[in-house]
């Protein structure tokens, strides 16, 4: 995974509350055996009409969404299914960060493992971001800070280890594999 330190982008706002992973990528697309190409199915049931044509008024189909790498979602994104296809689809589409006031546990974990930053902000910042779609933001992972175009800067919580892995491009599997001696010791003493 490439190291991530700073993300600068305009935002896309999807103000819906409780965006679940079934919306991010519907179950019928989960019969894939690879990670690639899921960006086409991102928000499929909101994004395309019955004939499979893009709905022109849906935010991700609008010209101003092109090239945006930061998604501002309504309260509590990622609830429901554990499908990692949700962050795979967001990343494949081009997103590098998701901002909300609450982010569901499994989705947050899955996002961190795919270089998609799950960023939790306070109510006031969230309200401002929701009201200012398309605004330029800068996310600095080294300082856990989110800078807004009006000059304000807020910090966001992120697990220190996850931050270390993301900023250094370290993958967690490598870290776990390095604990082989400890795992062997545990296995030797473990209840059958």
């Amino acid at each position: 995974m490439d190291p991530i330190t700073v993300i600068r982008s305009r935002t896309v706002v999807m103000p819906s509350t409780n965006i679940d992973t079934d919306q991010i990528v519907p179950a019928r697309f989960l019969t894939t055996t690879t990670k690639e190409g899921l960006g086409k199915q991102l928000f499929a049931d909101w994004r395309y009409d019955a004939a499979g044509q893009p709905k022109p008024d849906f935010i991700l189909n609008r010209p101003e969404a092109a090239g945006c790498r930061v998604l501002v979602a309504g309260r509590n994104i990622g609830c429901g299914s554990s499908r990692e296809h949700a962050p795979w689809a967001l990343v494949d589409f081009g997103f590098q960060a998701v901002i909300s006031t609450e982010i569901a546990d499994i989705f947050r974990n899955n996002s961190l493992k795919n270089g998609l930053l799950p960023i939790i902000v306070d109510e006031a910042t969230h309200a401002w971001l929701l009201a200012n779609s398309g605004v330029e933001v800068e996310i600095d992972l080294t300082t856990s800070s989110l800078k807004l175009a009006d000059g304000r800067s807020v910090t966001f919580p992120i697990d220190g280890f996850a931050r270390y892995c993301l900023t250094n491009g370290v993958d967690e599997l490598g870290f776990l594999l390095s604990k082989d001696a400890e795992i062997k010791r545990y296995e030797a003493s473990r209840r059958a």
């Binding site: 103000p15 819906s16 509350t17 409780n18 679940d20 079934d22 919306q23 519907p26 179950a27 019928r28 989960l30 019969t31 894939t32 055996t33 690879t34 990670k35 049931d45 019955a50 309260r75 509590n76 609830c79 429901g80 299914s81 554990s82 499908r83 990692e84 962050p87 609450e102 982010i103 569901a104 546990d105 499994i106 974990n109 899955n110 493992k113 795919n114 697990d159 220190g160 280890f161 270390y164 967690e172 599997l173 870290f175 776990l176 594999l177 604990k179 082989d180 400890e182 795992i183 010791r185 545990y186 296995e187 473990r190 209840r191 059958a192």
Partner: protein
């Protein structure tokens, strides 16, 4: 004497390979990894691309459930699996399991079924274990006092390669359920009421422990229904302390400990319950005796009302308005006015034998209303066999319902068992999200009893009209 501990803290501490530090999460050992066709292929690919072995095939069990057909001819030959990509995924799991030495209870195996139903059936789900699966309803296994939670596919790969996960310690949340459920009110109604109270994100960051008289009075299948939906309140895991009911259920299961190992295991399991005086980070109280049958009216499992109640009227609230637009229900109208086109009985929430018995009790001698499609999908081939031994399938078929092979089926509609656009489904499954059961499908979550009663009347119906 050491400080009193919660059950979660005991199980967690027993699995710390490396404890959490200020800079690193804990390395937690996993006792049982359940896997299935949908969330495993990309994890096997990681093992292959990095030249890694699957560390503990003996602690890994695979089955197929999510994308599998439920039509007998597609399961047992004679007809091809109708969805080509699903067939490919099923074949891929067979190939991967063979290559990595993983035991697979495959499509035609008599022990196959929904992964969260076969774990307990086989007796591999046991108190005190850490259990993971690439599926959020892994919380089901917490009914035995296991720490069981869903993971993503990257973590599936971590467990395959190391039998461990990097985890930050979650917080604890006591859900105290006093009193007893009244007749006609089921564990499904209780968990829906809990989700309604806690909210769909109220449990984020926590592990639930369900406690109290109503929980102790439940059998294991009922406890599994409760734990299954912990994730719908945001909690990755929900646990119930093991007791005599747990031990009686596990005794003589095919893979339960035997002989002296059984006695030793039970002695250990008895130490797991939360100590008197242990502190939870959060607590709520629910009075089971005050509950009615519950049913959802909206597009998340927290949007729930008692069956004698009305669709709420919160017009002006964006979440509510969006849900009403999708569901096509009238704010303020009795929920029993809601029409029903499809009834689904099954899923890891309510696809066990007791659920089918409860539905059959309502349906016996009755007919499904004209125009209503009713699908009964046992949670496993073993549940199917037991139900057929009891003649339940005849009751369902005589009522006009379809009787299928086991699988996740219409809970998420991956295998082609779907609800048509705009139709109303009363479903015993766990999610009423937009499109969950099919594009434009409108789901109302309820108990097997409520689903069966609603099938008979062709509208949402209080099951107590039939069973009290």
């Amino acid at each position: 004497m050491s400080a009193p501990k919660t059950m979660f803290e005991k199980v967690w501490a027993a699995h710390e390979v490396v404890p959490q530090t200020a800079d690193t999460p804990a390395v937690i050992f996993i006792d049982l990894h359940l896997t299935h066709e949908v969330t495993s292929p990309q994890a096997f690919s990681v093992l292959k691309s990095r030249g890694l072995k699957l560390r503990r095939p003996d602690l890994t069990l695979a089955t197929m459930d999510h994308a599998t057909p439920t039509r007998t001819e597609q399961v047992f030959g004679g007809a091809p699996i109708s969805i080509e990509s699903a067939a490919k995924q099923i074949r891929q799991l067979e190939v991967n399991c063979a290559e990595f030495g993983v035991e697979l209870l495959g499509l035609q195996d008599a022990r196959r079924g929904i992964v969260h139903i076969i774990g307990p059936e086989l007796g591999v789900t046991q108190p005190g274990k850490t259990i993971v699966c690439g599926d959020s309803h892994t919380s089901t296994h917490g009914a035995f006092g296991a720490l069981a939670f869903g993971i993503g596919t990257t973590e599936v790969g971590h467990v395959m390669a190391t039998q461990c996960l990097l985890q930050k310690k979650p917080k604890t949340f006591a859900v105290n359920v006093s009193g007893r459920l009244r007749p006609g009110v089921t564990p499904k109604d209780l968990i829906l009421a809990i989700i309604g109270k806690v909210g769909v994100s109220g449990g984020t960051g926590y592990v639930f422990e369900y406690r109290g008289e109503a929980i102790r009075a439940m059998d294991m299948e009922q406890r599994m229904t409760v734990c299954n939906m912990s994730i719908e309140a945001g909690a990755r895991a929900g646990m119930i302390a093991p007791d005599e009911v747990t031990f009686a259920y596990l005794k003589d299961k095919p893979r339960s400990p035997k002989g002296a190992a059984w006695d030793e295991a039970v002695a250990y399991w008895r130490t797991l319950a939360t100590d008197e005086g242990a502190i939870f980070d959060k607590t709520i109280e629910i009075d089971a005796s005050a509950l009615e049958p519950m049913i959802t009216y909206g597009t998340n499992p927290g949007m729930v009302v008692p069956i004698s109640g009305q669709v709420p009227d919160r017009r002006g609230d964006a979440v509510f308005d969006a849900a009403m637009k999708y569901m096509g229900l009238t704010p303020g109208a009795p929920i029993t006015d809601a029409p029903v086109n499809v009834v689904f009985i099954g899923s890891c929430t309510n696809g066990r034998l007791g659920d089918l018995q409860a539905a059959a009790k309502v349906l016996k001698g009755q007919r499904v209303a004209p125009g209503v499609q009713m699908l009964v999908v046992p949670g496993s081939q073993e549940v199917k066999r037991e139900a057929e031994e009891l003649g339940l399938h005849e009751i369902f078929k005589q009522a006009g319902a379809e009787w299928r092979e086991s699988g996740c089926s219409m809970c998420l509609g991956m295998n082609g068992d779907t609800v048509a656009k705009g139709e109303y489904a009363v479903s015993t499954s766990n999610r009423n999200f937009e499109g969950r059961q099919g594009i434009g499908a409108r789901t109302l979550l309820a108990s097997p009893e409520t689903a069966a009663a609603s099938a008979i009347r062709g509208r949402v119906t209080d099951p107590r009209e039939f069973i009290i």
